[in-house]
Amino acid sequence: MLQIALVCVGIYTLMSAFVGARLVLRAVPTRSVPELLMGVAYLSAPGFGYPLAVIGSGLQDRTSGMVMFGVGQAMIVVGCTCFFFFNARVFRPQSVLAQAAAGVGAILFALSGSEIVRGHMAIGADALGLASVRAASVTMLAVLGLAYAWTAFEGFRHHSLMRRRARFGLGDPVVANRFLLWAFAGSLQVIADSVSAHSLRGGADITTDAASVFATSLVGIVNSGLLVLIFIPPARYTRWLTRAPRGSLAAV
């Protein structure tokens, strides 16, 4: 089971790195901030941060392992911070509250990340046994879960707006579908994060706990498919969306 889970999470990591790199490469020449935020978010957290942290905590050489773990955690913090600010900037650009929420999320993430690194520096891979590290991990999962819930809510809201626009010839079915897929991806991440946070609070090790591993790997593989449909949709898929009966948002 662990090997299948590793493959699923590995596929999600590769897809995230690919999508993230593609977005960053497109954002740099055009100086497009949303693409840059989303690109760095995918590239930094699931693309490199989580794998580095996992590999680093398992390395025999303590010094290299610690460096790798620390770099991984820093990349997770940077990536998730970009994700929070993507939400605020794209969905609520004029809301001071949204920018503040993204800022608070970033601070909580940075503090939790530094506590986790501190614990690992002190006692290595068994740091999850420390109450402070466990609390920091739960905080990270809770903040991330809230951010995914926010993004899912915005995705569903914008999908609904796009469907209303379609009645007046204003909606693009491909973009409407993208919002819906985005909302599904966010909702699935909320479920995976909730399962992991629940396991952590119950004293389990989320890297071996069956429920956490199952939820994380299942969401990882499904979200890999969603990443393709959202960021690099095959031509056949977009044709299917735009050629739906009534030429409208019926298929979305």
Binding site: P34, H158, R164, A166, R167, G169, V175, F179, I230
Partner: protein, 100 residues
């Protein structure tokens, strides 16, 4: 929260209409925008043109003493001369770019 340039221009023109104050004008236009699935902060002149043509007349019927046809023509004229101000990219513009 301030609306887009097109939204504010239409609100200002609506508020000049007899029997309508600033808040009634904003509320009336907001209702029409909601029906169309649009948001006041990002609505463009082109989108508002469709709202003025297809949704606003129905909202204005409830305001007694308003010459709906003449008012809508005036609003279309306002939209036609608006400079092509570029508002901050709306979420749908960003999501349209993300999948290219």
């Amino acid at each position: 929260m301030a609306g887009s340039a097109a939204f504010e221009a239409i609100c200002a023109e609506l508020a000049n209409t007899a029997g309508m104050d600033r808040w009634t004008a904003r509320g009336t236009l907001q209702l029409a925008l909601m029906d169309a699935g649009l948001e006041s902060t990002t609505a463009t002149a082109a989108q508002l043109g469709i709202v003025v043509e297809r949704l606003l007349p129905r909202q204005l019927q409830s305001h007694g003493g308003v010459n709906v046809d003449a008012l809508c023509k005036r609003l279309r004229d306002v939209l036609a001369v608006l400079p092509a101000a570029r508002a901050a990219a709306a979420a749908d513009e960003v999501f349209a770019r993300l999948g290219r």
